[in-house]
Structures are given as structure tokens and as C-alpha cells.
């Protein structure tokens, strides 16, 4: 056995030993990577989310309209502490993204969790355009009731966060759509100007917490009296009828 062969054999043995020692660490790293793996949708949300600027944005309470925990056939405003900022477009984006992903429970979601708000524009005349991904149409349970609830949740949440928005046109994947998911009309803008002003809500203890308020009036029903400021009492409800 030549000397060179013995040296090579020794090096190979050392490499194998080093590999055996490294293997558990590699395995741990793989497990950790698996735990951190994000869904495609979550990753996309992070990419399109603008990087916050240096200064901290003050949090404020705003009503987000999810399904009522007591009656899923109605919406209920939930006072939620959010860093909305001053820019109307940014306020709308934060409020609508919270509406999509921030429901207190999965059963209270009114829009499909897979939905993305692709763009939001607010013109100086109060006309707003919200462009949602097609998951809003494809994943929403088909039906008049479910589609009208989804539409009401969008318009009322937007009105609560951005009262300057007077009209809302909804696009799906950048295109005009005839209906939301086969029933509710999307062919024209929705009038937000007649909605009752949202009463300021009480401060939430933390940004992660939200207090569920009393259910809003069901569609087609007269609205209840406006908001109470006590957290234990009904919050702002649906706007009154208009003719």
C-alpha cells in the first residue's frame, strides 16, 4: 500500500466522520426551514406590502365589519386598533387587508382569506377603485346572501376608515366584472356618500385585540340607533335607510 494511497484513505475517513458529525445540524436546519415555509399567498402579501417609513404611525380605532359571532347571516362591526396613518389610500389598504385576514375567528371571515387587495386608488373627487385578486370571486361561497354580505363588508369598512371615499368601484384582477360571484352587480360604482358617519370607537387595549360589538342591522332592515361608546354596548351599526 503506497503512502499516497494511505493519505487519501485517511482524508476520506476524516471527511466521512466530519459529515456524520454535521448531519444532525443539517437535519435541524431542514426542520426549521420547513416550519418557516410560507404559503404562496402569504409571501405575496409580504412582497406587495410597502415598507413602513421611519416614523411610527399612531394607532387608532376603526370599525371592521366581519360576520357576527352570534349570527353569521349578519355583519357586526368590531372596533380594531390599527396603524392607519394619514394617507387615505394607505388607510384603505390597511383596513381592507385587515378585513380579509384579521377576523377574530375563521368563522367570522366574510371575504376569502386567499383574497389580495392588488391596488387601491382614491381620486380627488372622492371616487375610489379597489382592485382585488380573483380569489374574491372564485373562493367566495356563491349566493345572493353571501355576496351581498361581502360587498357590504367592503363598503362599510372602507367608509369607516376613509370617509373621503364617496363612490367605490370594485375590479377583479384589474378588470371590470359583471358580478361578484354570479349574483351581486359589480358593473357600476357603489355610493358611499349616504352612509351614516361612523362614531369614533373606544380605544382597544392592543393592536391585536378587538372587541366584538353588537350585530349590525340585517340588510333591508331599519338601522339601529347610532353607536354607543361603551365597549360593552352596541357599536356603530349600519347606516339608516335611504330612498
Amino acid at each position: 500500500m503506497s503512502r499516497a494511497f494511505r493519505i487519501t484513505l485517511l482524508l476520506l475517513i476524516l471527511a466521512v466522520l466530519a459529515g456524520l458529525l454535521e448531519l444532525p445540524a443539517l437535519r435541524m436546519q431542514l426542520l426549521e426551514f420547513g416550519r418557516q415555509e410560507q404559503s404562496e399567498e402569504e409571501a405575496r402579501r409580504e412582497v406587495i406590502r410597502p415598507v413602513p417609513e421611519g416614523r411610527e404611525v399612531r394607532k387608532e380605532d376603526v370599525n371592521i365589519f366581519w360576520l357576527s359571532a352570534d349570527d353569521p347571516s349578519q355583519l357586526a362591526p368590531v372596533k380594531t386598533s390599527l396603524a392607519l396613518g394619514a394617507d387615505p389610500q394607505e388607510r384603505a389598504r390597511v383596513a381592507l387587508e385587515t378585513l380579509i385576514t384579521g377576523a377574530p375567528t375563521a368563522d367570522q371571515r366574510v371575504l376569502p382569506f386567499e383574497t389580495s387587495l392588488l391596488a387601491f386608488y382614491l381620486m380627488p373627487d372622492g371616487s375610489a377603485v379597489a382592485d382585488f385578486s380573483d380569489a374574491l370571486s372564485l373562493q367566495l361561497p356563491s349566493g345572493i346572501a353571501s355576496e351581498q354580505l361581502a360587498l357590504d363588508a367592503i363598503t362599510q369598512t372602507l367608509h369607516a376608515a376613509v370617509p373621503q371615499a364617496l363612490r367605490l368601484r370594485i375590479l377583479i384582477d384589474g378588470h371590470e366584472a359583471e358580478t361578484l360571484a354570479g349574483h351581486v352587480d359589480l358593473s357600476s360604482a357603489f355610493d358611499l356618500s349616504q352612509m351614516a358617519p361612523q362614531a369614533p370607537g373606544p380605544s382597544a387595549p392592543s393592536s391585536a385585540s378587538a372587541q366584538s360589538a353588537a350585530p349590525a342591522s340585517p340588510p333591508g332592515q331599519p338601522a339601529k340607533p347610532p353607536a354607543a361608546t361603551d365597549q360593552t354596548k352596541p357599536a356603530a351599526t349600519k347606516p339608516p335607510p335611504r330612498e
Binding site: A145, H183, Q194, P219, P241, R242, E243
Partner: protein, 255 residues
């Protein structure tokens, strides 16, 4: 003399004497005279005309079970229900027109065009939803949930008789609401646990229909056994017949 007699006979042969029994031949229509077509016979509909619209169809399945691909789908359920309702309502003296009788994928505007070509009817769009209390029915008329018309109902300029296609329902909102209220009262009685009052919803199909128009949504495809839904054709027919009869009594027979 003979020549004069022959000439008189020839003239008499060439000019036939008019008779009382054979009418004169019809004159050929001149370009300025409108052609008189025979009237198209219309079956009598003393109780009223109903346009039943089984929603969806073809590739558009509508609502379907979230848990099973084998479960019931809205497009089939509403066609079954509408067909049974047609038999029952015709038996009661109504003239019933279905917007589709097969598994056809008709566009919303095509259904509306068919309905709008018929005068003096009541339009009912049939749906089965994805949620809600089992075996109940909710009627909707067109409007925002807050009771108003959407801003796209534009005021008609003075002197303009035509209305925009998208505004077809604008002249019928009050009558549709009245129709929905009467129907919902009947539905609450005939399908227990149904709501007492109708709702407003911005249903695209209703918006483009020029009739008193409602959408009725049954609940729901989420049930394990949807056979009860097809059995709802009877109560639905009875509720619809009663609502239309009361409506027409209050308007002197007009839709």
C-alpha cells in the same frame, strides 16, 4: 244586324257579370299599404303571467357543496324546482314562461331580453344559496341594503323615452318591493322559519328586468339531504300564486 249581335255577345263573354256570391279578388298590396298579419293567438292567462328564471346553468354550476363534488348543485336544483312550479302554477291558471328548460348557460342579459319581450308579467329568479337556515326562503328586490337605488340609475333627460338597459328596473322598484313583501309573508307561512320581511340586494339579474321582479334564494346546498329543497316547489308555487293574486287585486289586475 248580325255583326252587331255578335259584337254584343263577345263583349258580354269578355265581361263577366258580377255575382253576389263571389267576393271581389283582394287588391295587390301597394308599397304604402301595411300588410295585415293575422293576430298571434295568446293563451289566456287570467291569473297572470310569471317568468320563472332558474338561475345559472351549463358550466355555471352556481352554489355547490363545499365538502363533496358529488353533492347537489344549484343549477340542477333550481331547474327541477322551476319545472315543478310551472306545472303547478299552470294548473292554477297562470301563464308560466321559463327562461331555460335545459342545462343551458344563458347570460344574464339574454334572460332579461327574453323577459323584457313579454308584457305585463312578474319575474322570479330562483336560487339556492350556500348557507342559511335549512329549507327556508328569502326574497330579494333590487336595491342597496339600505333601501335606496344605486347611483347608476341615472335620471332620464327630458324628452327621452328610452331607458338604459342597466336601468330597466328603475321604474319598477316600488312594485318589486311590494311584490317581494307580499311574497315573503307567504313564504314565512308556507316554509316555516323563513323571515317575515324581504331584503334588498344588488342582484344583477333583477337590475336589467323591466317587470316587478324578485329573486328567491332557498337554503341551502350545504344540507346533506337536498331532497327537501325540490319538495319546496309546492309551497313556493302556493306562495307565489297567493302573492300575485293579492298584488293584482290591489292594482286592479295590473302587474
Amino acid at each position: 244586324m248580325l255583326a252587331a249581335t255578335l259584337a254584343a255577345l263577345l263583349a258580354a263573354a269578355q265581361t263577366p257579370a258580377p255575382t253576389q256570391t263571389s267576393p271581389p279578388p283582394p287588391a295587390a298590396p301597394s308599397p304604402s299599404t301595411p300588410v295585415q298579419l293575422p293576430p298571434i293567438p295568446v293563451p289566456p292567462a287570467p291569473a297572470g303571467t310569471i317568468i320563472l328564471d332558474p338561475a345559472h346553468g351549463g358550466a355555471d354550476r352556481g352554489a355547490h357543496s363545499e365538502t363533496s363534488d358529488e353533492g347537489a348543485v344549484e343549477k340542477d336544483l333550481v331547474l327541477t324546482i322551476a319545472t315543478a312550479m310551472r306545472r303547478e302554477l299552470e294548473r292554477q291558471g297562470f301563464r308560466v314562461i321559463l327562461t331555460r328548460q335545459t342545462d343551458a348557460d344563458l347570460a344574464i342579459n339574454d334572460r332579461a331580453a327574453l323577459a323584457n319581450a313579454i308584457g305585463g308579467g312578474f319575474f322570479v329568479s330562483l336560487h339556492v344559496g350556500s348557507s342559511g337556515a335549512p329549507n327556508t326562503a328569502q326574497a330579494y328586490s333590487f336595491g342597496t341594503p339600505h333601501g335606496g337605488a344605486p347611483p347608476a340609475f341615472l335620471p332620464r333627460p327630458p324628452g327621452i323615452e328610452a331607458i338604459r338597459w342597466d336601468d330597466a328596473q328603475s321604474g319598477y322598484q316600488i312594485s318589486s318591493r311590494r311584490f317581494a313583501e307580499l311574497l315573503q309573508v307567504e313564504l314565512a307561512q308556507k316554509l316555516p322559519h323563513s323571515p317575515d320581511v324581504p331584503k334588498f340586494a344588488e342582484v344583477r339579474q333583477l337590475r336589467v328586468v323591466a317587470h316587478p321582479a324578485v329573486a328567491v334564494e332557498l337554503s341551502s346546498v350545504a344540507e346533506d339531504d337536498t331532497s327537501a329543497l325540490t319538495k319546496a316547489a309546492g309551497p313556493l308555487s302556493a306562495a307565489l300564486a297567493r302573492a300575485i293574486t293579492v298584488y293584482r287585486q290591489s292594482t286592479g289586475g295590473r302587474p
